[in-house]
Subunit: 252 residues, 2 copies
DNA sequence: GTTCGGAACTTGTATATACATCTATCGACA
DNA sequence: TGTCGATAGATGTATATACAAGTTCCGAAC
């Protein structure tokens, strides 16, 4: 360790440095990234942390490496790591837009068969449902349907969902979301979607369904977000040799 | 190195072993993955390769790790690495379906403004366009529009696109696709889409636009694939602490 | 029986080294 | 001038070690 790293890990400092160089344009697409040994010298460290940082950038699709050649910066879509999609508010701010929201309904209900399957509870068990319309700069962008088992959702019921992030509320209540699976597809707007999002019934919408889990693997959230395709799209970069989590599903 | 690894790298052998255990169900969701030291002993290797294999599984969303705890197998969507989406044929086979295709048109044309921008050539420059309908088990699933600059696409013109993979043809011709960017959104079926895919005009389709690049960063393919959402969906798993390449885009 | 503390274990991070394998470059030679 | 080959340098892979930091679990003290 060099001691010059700002309170965090060495590889994190290298990562931040390279990300800044790339996003600021000091390292343009097509240009070579400094070699591992140059980075070792600059950060007074060994190859381990340097390779760790480069590996992360490779998986994110920002650079490409290969035996014998120096790494090069790739021409990429502007990447906002998708984790922020866990929080619409945060994502919106990073896009330079002003987030807004209006809760259409928040109800205590009983799980339908589909909801019960998704949350791994029994049909008829109590749940908390939330329907929220999300805005960016005042324009409706997304309709969010959230569904929690009651013992999780009760932390939301006693909370004004227009006043802040549901996620932060859950975390503050000791609910620990550890990982999530997402499925993207396209659906036609139904009557509710059309009315609230201001499109015609049948208009194409992006649907992002999410299931969030605790570390023990218990599902604690199910959501169905419907985006206006004109305002939100999803992107991914693949580099040969790097892995990315996107996959394609068959059938229903 | 142990020497017992089957001709490849140590970390690859560990990766294969763990993947098989997970997909065969010997390691069920929620169960602990063998600890690093157990894997070191089993494969007679050091922590390096073991950690490399575990890191890949973590990025793929198959397992979750954390300081102090043992890694656990996650409940995930069945993952087919998305690289295979570069080849519809291959993806289809891995899904246990029989791929089919019918080329609707293959033309030498001149780049429109949008195509020129995407391929980084000038409007009016010669290009090769390909329109193909793709089947799985005889059912139309996807409509594929491909577009190449002429010097790349000419390798396709002299080739029966119904006889095999365009990708393999390009690679055999010395065209080296190195990385690709993809954008997913939803569109309404236009007249051509509706007729060929057998849906009503205006029906929601998943659109996957792709740009493929050489290692030098030159764009050599632009494609617009439109999937029936009933037959193809896209999925991704995020684990806290692991990076994945999916991101969300604003605006146009 | 309950609670607290500590030991043992696990993963995360870092160092130093070695060799394999591929690329780029430059100089010798024709 | 052009081609070929050697060489230096790059990343990929593997080993061995060390310490940091978090979790689990068991036993001692109360």
């Amino acid at each position: 360790m060099t001691g010059t790293t700002r309170g965090t890990q060495t590889y994190g400092a290298i990562l931040t440095y390279l990300r800044r160089e790339i996003s600021a344009g000091s390292l343009e697409p097509g240009q070579s990234v400094p070699s591992e040994s140059e980075l070792c010298a600059r950060f007074e460290t060994s190859r381990g942390p340097v390779r760790q940082a480069l590996g992360i950038l490779r998986d994110e699709g920002l650079i490409s490496s290969g035996r014998g050649r120096r790494s090069v910066v790739l021409e990429t879509v502007p990447v906002q790591p998708f984790d922020v999609a866990l929080s619409f508010t945060q994502w919106c701010r990073e896009m330079g837009m002003e987030p807004g929201q209006r809760t259409e309904s928040m109800t205590r209900a009983w799980a339908t068969r589909a909801q019960a399957d998704s949350l791994e509870i029994d049909p008829g068990d109590p749940i908390v449902e939330l329907l929220r319309l999300r805005f960016a700069d005042g324009v409706p962008i997304m309709l969010e349907r959230l569904c929690y088992p009651y013992d999780v959702g009760r932390h939301v019921l006693s909370f004004d969902p227009d006043s802040g992030s549901v996620y932060e509320r859950l975390i503050a209540s000791g609910v620990d979301i550890h990982h999530a699976t997402r499925i993207l597809d396209a659906v036609a707007a139904d009557e509710d979607d059309a009315r609230l999002l201001g499109v015609q019934e049948g208009a194409p919408l992006m649907r992002l369904r999410r299931r969030a889990f605790t570390i023990e693997g218990r599902p604690i959230e199910w959501s169905d977000d419907r985006y206006l395709p004109s305002h939100a799209r999803f992107a991914s970069t693949t580099v040969r040799g790097a892995s990315n989590g996107l996959s394609m599903l068959k059938g229903l």
